[in-house]
Symmetry: D2
Subunit: 109 residues, 4 copies
């Protein structure tokens, strides 16, 4: 079984053992993802990247992934496919010759 599939199976098992599917509608999963992204961000507050706690980053990033995978599963998205599609998409918004070495948003390039 592929890595991503295996991760998702473990997440679903955890969820189902606790009978939590009833709470996991997409809107609340998107909220949960934002809450966890905020907790991850807090680890960088008032400091430089190198002073952030790597062990805690690992844990909060894992939570972000967990809800992202659950949301992908809820919609039946293939994670690899949607990310690779988005890369192609972004390649059009950020052509190399225009975007190289600068961090402007595509609508300001």
């Amino acid at each position: 079984m592929k890595d991503i599939e295996e991760i998702i199976q473990e997440l679903l098992k955890f969820r189902n053992e606790r009978d939590w599917e009833q709470f996991h509608n997409p809107k609340d999963l998107a909220i949960a993802l934002n809450v966890e992204a905020g907790e991850l961000l807090e680890l960088f507050l008032w400091k430089n990247s190198e002073d952030a706690n790597k062990e805690k980053i690992k844990e909060e990033l894992a939570d972000v992934f967990a809800y992202a995978f659950l949301l992908a599963n809820k919609y039946g998205f293939n994670v690899k496919e949607i990310v690779l599609d988005k890369i192609i998409n972004n390649g059009e918004k950020y052509p190399i010759e225009k975007a190289k070495g600068n961090a402007k948003k595509y609508n300001e390039l």
Copy 2:
């Protein structure tokens, strides 16, 4: 090559072709992840889950995954490992007998 490894390789190729590694410090990657999580959340604003636009959700969720994978790569985290570790961890915070069928936070169980 495993799925996750392949996704990350494509993300790094995209980044390097644009010479963007200079901008991708962990703190800004965490900010980018929050910005994308916010754009995903906006798709559910003022509506029920079923009225949200699935095509746009796919794109915004892909962006969330992109920055989450880039952040994991930056720290050398193995995504499968950190998520499975977190599941074990959460299993202790949310024992089945206490957590089953209710959505309370662990410190209120």
Copy 3:
């Protein structure tokens, strides 16, 4: 003294007594605002509005206001002025006859 001016004076006094101005650059204040907004949002996770804890909402919303006021102060914005200006602005994006009774975003009206 006006309400808003009085709130900001108290926030600055609190900050200065702790010698925290050195940390309060706009970027980190914007991060702090997001972190607090995420903590507020967490109070609504997996539940309906009416089941959220009003006492905690009060506290998290106060934190959101605190960073929003500090950010306004940092840039010398007059809060009343910028909000009233934005209302006029939004009135053009959301004309009453088009927006009445529907929650669509302005670019979908």
Copy 4:
């Protein structure tokens, strides 16, 4: 009329003219606040504070304030009171002698 009261009256007028109260439940207002906080944060992405666009910051911060005020109004909170109360509260979590000159979280002081 006080500044804050006047701002809130203008926000309610704008909302009511569009018949939007039906969408403004506290949970969605908290989502809207997060979405706007994310848009504000995006203005600082990949850059230092001083390179962020002040004019856009003004607009996004105004949106943050708008939803924060609407949420306060929804619960009948007095904004000045809840912020001043939180300052007292935070004074206990961050006593001057411990917190002065350092940016640690209260549970790490």
